[in-house]
């Protein structure tokens, strides 16, 4: 099984995050940048599959030069190699153009499974796996809480609000996962030390044959025009219990449609 895992570097969701005042993109300079949490589950799933069925795991990242830090961390968990798409013209890319670039990069990687997190903690649009499958002309097994590999047949349990759906497809396919699918391993010290010697292939847009005008701000199909800070939390409403506290609470919950 040849597996490519899409890994995105994002600002740490546990810390203060902001958008830049000048172009409304994520302020990476001010943030502590980490691997998108959901992608760690995708890496773990890929490693488990290759440990059981053989094969190789490749990490694919599109991001600025600083994303190489996250690529090394991803490699320290066990993947064999990585591809880093880095090009100044990519700044401001929307999901549509991102999927175009990643599809182009996947062209040469001969993947049986393309694994990724169901969403990134910065963008949270959840559309990339679908767009990618469409561009590649392969099945989209999205939102998996369980993945089973049987020869070239992939079966997932797709997590829904009500329960789950069982969805099957043949390889090659795009599989996106939720954090319910496994428990990502800690990188071992040997893994950390080995990661710096693993090959990372850097690709520019020219290498991929993608025109710069189709991506970044130039080719964006959606652009953030403006942003504002969330208003500070207001003081809230105090309910004084004068023997009817319970009734007042239920009335409040009813007006907010909680009951």
């Amino acid at each position: 099984m040849n597996i490519v895992v899409l890994v995105k570097q994002v600002p740490d969701s546990g810390a203060e995050r902001s958008l830049r005042a000048d172009d409304n993109t994520v302020d990476r300079g001010a943030a502590s940048n980490v691997i998108n949490e959901m992608d760690e589950y995708a890496i773990e799933e890929a490693l488990k599959i290759t440990e059981a069925h053989g094969g190789e795991v490749t990490v694919l990242t599109m991001g600025p030069a600083g994303a190489s830090d996250s690529i090394r961390k991803a490699l320290s968990m066990g993947p064999a190699k990585a591809v880093h798409i880095v090009d100044d013209a990519l700044r401001g890319s929307c999901a549509v153009s991102t999927s175009k670039v990643i599809a182009a990069a996947l062209g040469g990687l001969n993947a049986d499974i393309i694994l990724c997190g169901s969403e990134s903690t910065d963008g949270r649009v959840q559309v990339l796996p679908h767009m990618l499958a469409e561009r590649l002309g392969v099945a989209a097994l999205t939102g998996a809480r369980k993945l089973t590999v049987d020869g070239s047949t992939l079966t997932i349990e797709r997590q829904t609000d009500e329960g789950y759906e069982v969805v099957t497809a043949s390889t090659p396919a795009v599989v996106s996962v939720w954090d319910t699918i496994n428990e990502p391993r800690y990188p071992s010290f040997k893994g950390i030390m080995a990661a710096k010697k693993k090959p990372v292939d850097t690709k520019s847009l020219a290498d991929l044959g993608v025109d710069a005008s189709e991506v970044g701000f130039a080719g964006a199909t959606s652009t953030v025009l403006d942003h504002a800070q969330r208003p500070p939390r207001s003081a809230g409403q105090k309910v004084v219990d004068e023997g009817d506290g319970g009734v007042k609470l239920v009335e409040y919950l009813a007006t907010e449609k909680f009951v």
């Binding site: 090394r72 800690y186 990188p187 071992s188 010290f189 040997k190 950390i192 030390m193």
Partner: protein
């Protein structure tokens, strides 16, 4: 500042790989250890089942090469000790004894067969080791130990006892030092060898999340190949202790950092006389003194780590590191307790637990008094041990 070590930007002196190893240990401990520490300390237990998890990360014997060991730098090992002791000195003691005393003694002085037999399983946390040098009547003065190994044909007969042995009663193999006709020699004694018994020491007020035991050897018959062939004289066990002390230089910084971080959080939230106690000058003096002391201890540890990686570290320098850093950490932990007020005496907050642990750390692996004399000898040329 969330991390008081940011004051002097100590992390700025580390490589990316060193930082990643440190972060990985911190993350593992936050997930798997910290939620249970107070409970283990209260119950006076060390969860043996944690050992394989420590092994999978690569923590056991991490700075040794081959035989399943990770082979990291000394600085990376130090940083792991720092994070372990920021959780609890008992846990760091377990890792120190396993890696720097038990595994190191086999790695450095053992035969190829002994290494193959024990080291891979010890690195994986499947086998636990301990190290028996100290005796009830001989602590700082191990040269006069009473434990004897006597030749009986090709075999040895081991007779005597060891005291204050970390991991003693959970160990699968003990590295035991005994006097022979030719001077002090080391022996590997597997658990279950007839005549070898252990007794866990109870009612401790310190290092409660760690197992401490007494070892007894009642004419224990050992084959000739139980002896560590490379170890000759007291120099051998002392070289092992030097390894473990190096880890303590970093570990103490961890206990101090955790104490200070906890006290800072508390002082920012705790309001008296209408403002956070962090805003009072007396509290700030405590914090400033502790911040400077912590930062200098960390820089000293890191300096020693760089010397060790460069192959230039001298034993008296390790003494300076252990003396300064444990003393500083103990003062910081106690001072942090005063900031926490009455809340500071419960297991809900770590500083008093750290302070209690550090009482043992101040004494074991060379007392502060002995390290003082080591430094005195280095400076003056006069040995003042007796």
């Amino acid at each position: 500042m969330r991390d008081p070590l940011e004051l002097l930007d100590v992390a700025g002196l580390l490589t990316g790989e060193e930082r990643q190893i440190q972060e990985t240990v911190a993350r593992f401990l936050a997930d798997r250890v910290r939620p249970h520490l107070a409970e283990w300390f209260e119950a006076g237990t060390f969860p043996r089942e944690l050992a394989p998890e420590l092994g999978r990360l690569g923590l056991l014997g991490m700075h040794l090469d081959g035989y399943g060991c990770a082979g990291t730098s000394a600085v990376a090992y130090g940083l792991a000790c720092l994070e372990l002791e920021a959780a609890d000195s008992g846990l760091r003691s377990f890792v120190s004894v396993q890696g720097s005393l038990a595994m190191y003694s086999i790695h450095r002085y053992g035969s190829e067969e002994q290494k193959q037999r024990w080291l891979p399983r010890m690195a994986a946390g499947e086998a636990i080791g301990c190290f028996g040098l100290t005796e009830p009547d001989f602590g700082s003065d191990p040269a006069n130990m009473r434990t004897r190994a006597i030749r009986d044909g090709d075999d040895w007969l081991l007779r005597g006892g060891k005291m204050w042995i970390t991991n003693g009663s959970i160990a699968d193999v003990a590295t035991v030092w005994a006097a022979t006709e030719d001077g002090i020699r080391g022996f590997l004694v597997p658990a279950g060898t007839p005549g070898f018994t252990t007794r866990t020491i109870k009612n401790k007020l310190s290092l409660r999340a760690s197992i401490t035991a007494e070892l007894s050897f009642d004419d224990v018959r050992l084959p000739a190949d139980a002896q560590l062939p490379g170890a000759k004289g007291l120099r051998a066990p002392l070289s092992c202790l030097n390894e473990a002390r190096f880890g303590i230089c970093f570990g103490a910084v961890g206990a101090a950092r955790d104490s200070l971080a906890v006290a800072l959080d508390y002082a920012r939230e705790r309001v008296q006389f209408g403002k956070p106690i962090a805003a009072f000058q007396l509290t700030q003096q405590k914090f400033a003194d502790m911040g400077v002391s912590l930062g200098t201890a960390a820089l000293l540890a890191l300096h020693l780590g760089r010397l060790k990686d460069g192959g230039r570290l001298q034993p008296h320098q390790v003494s300076a590191g252990k003396l300064n850093n444990v003393r500083a950490a103990l003062e910081i932990a106690r001072e942090c307790r005063t900031i926490l007020g009455g809340s500071g005496i419960t297991l809900e907050y770590s500083p008093l637990r750290h302070a209690n642990n550090l009482e043992s750390v101040l004494t074991y692996e060379g007392t502060s008094e002995i390290h003082t004399l080591v430094i005195g000898e280095a400076l003056t040329g006069h040995a003042a041990y007796r």
